[in-house]
Symmetry: C2
Subunit: 291 residues, 2 copies
């Protein structure tokens, strides 16, 4: 059975593991803090690759940032990676072929192959974490767009410039549906600049009404985004993953969204491919593509 | 060369013509007011079909409302057609195969085959008329979704319930970007319930500043919608068609949208397939599918 050495490169952590054709992790998972400069990132990848490449058929890298349609390089980043990251020549890191895909696209593929959206024709995965990632699968293909950057969940929730978004624009879905956004919603509603995402989640757990109101507002913004996406794509399901997804009442989101969707009813599901879905997805994609 | 007898069925008018494989109209175009009851609509179609079906290979119908993935029937309507319209059994209207597709999808296909989005991989057509229609083409295929209803331009421009939309929900793109929406924007900005879309367009022509402000706000909402769609799909181009498109400053829309789009720059174009693009598109689709 084929195996891939995989990485998941994020703004704060880099994970690495060996994964087989069934999407099973067959090694220890290694974890590193993401170095703060470009050379160190490349050196870290090279060291890991030289250690393990003889054991595998292919190198597969899930990464923050948009990845080109040839799956060879990063073409843009929405933020938290070191400057110059997109100049990394991934192909030079190994004598084997190196396959690269965006981390959210990779995670969406994992959900589609072994997780919550298995056996669906059209699915949209939303990763609710520090930011919001998106991956869209239509008839067994990732939606990549003309440059490879499709699936950016930067559509406006308001049109009158209320919240600046990390992308430089205003009022994007990301600015209302991320973990960071929950803090901003709390700040605005409670007029308290020191409140944290954690405070809201804990407050909801102990049934504090003001925190419940904040959380409901945040969840309602997620519902509004899902309504729009569902009218555009008419998907089978929306998969929620990422660190914030566990707090979402998926049944309620599904019911409320379906009350307003005019295409056809959707299913809203929590991701089941786990915390390493980025690595699993990119490994499966790379092996399927015969890289 | 194959020929199709085609219809374009809208809320107020029904058009009919014969179209060849190159998308050329090879007959007189006939025009009818849409009857106000179901039987009369069916009788009108039957009469036309029996007149011309011996001259053609196929019957192709572009219609308001969502059409199923098998292209045989209407599965839902967003409004202005007679009650029970979706019960019409189009297959019974002719001994020949009858191919049905949504009017906006059909028009998008015409733009893609012979019009403004020819030779693009990913295009989105927005029909700006009384309402807003949408058709999305990805790698030579219409995006139809799980039920066939995809491409509904009902994503929210605001999340705080400002304008009721024809779909029953609130603040959809359609409620801000249609011709009707221009009137509503004018009503709100000028505090005048009697102002019409025509007043605004005439006012802009005679350089009245208040009307220019209204128009710019409306156009800006269109820009905001295009930014979201472009971040989701990363398309080659956005095609604007429909009766209101001629008033849009496409160059300005393109420049402003590209200033905020984070995927890759798009091109914004006026549709060139003409007023009968619905009939042309559905005819070309039907003949390509070998119906």
């Amino acid at each position: 059975m084929k195996k891939a050495l995989t990485f998941d490169i994020g703004g704060t952590k880099i994970y690495s593991a060996i994964i087989n054709e069934q999407g099973e992790i067959v090694s220890e998972i290694e974890k590193f803090s993401t170095p703060k400069n470009l050379d160190e990132i490349q050196n870290l990848l090279k060291t890991q690759i030289s250690k393990y490449e003889s054991e595998v058929d292919i190198i597969a890298i899930a990464t923050a940032g948009a990845v080109n349609n040839e799956n060879t390089k990063v073409i843009g980043s929405t933020g938290n990676l070191v400057e110059g990251y997109s100049t990394i020549d991934f192909q030079k890191l190994s004598s084997k072929r190196v396959f690269v895909e965006n981390d959210a696209n990779s995670a969406a593929w994992a959900e589609y192959k072994i997780g919550a959206s298995k056996n669906t024709d059209i699915s949209i995965m939303l990763t609710l974490g520090t930011g919001v990632g998106g991956g869209i699968i239509i008839n067994n293909k990732l939606l990549k767009g003309k440059s490879g950057a499709a699936g950016e969940m930067h559509f406006k929730m308001y049109s009158d410039k209320r919240r600046k978004c990390t992308c430089g624009s205003w009022d994007c879905f990301e600015a209302y549906a991320s973990g960071t956004a929950l803090k901003r919603t709390a700040e605005e509603m409670l007029n308290n600049p020191n409140i944290t995402t954690y405070d809201v989640i804990e407050g909801v757990k102990s049934a504090k009404q003001d925190m419940i109101n904040v959380f409901e507002k945040w969840q309602n913004d997620i519902i509004n985004g899902i309504i729009g996406l569902s009218n555009i794509f008419d998907p089978d399901c929306i998969v929620l993953s990422g660190s914030m997804a566990q707090f979402v009442d998926t049944k309620k989101v599904e019911t409320c969204a379906n009350n307003e969707i005019i295409t056809s009813p959707i299913s809203v599901r929590l991701g089941t491919a786990g915390n390493y879905s980025g690595m699993i997805g990119v490994a499966l994609l790379a092996m399927e593509r015969g890289f």
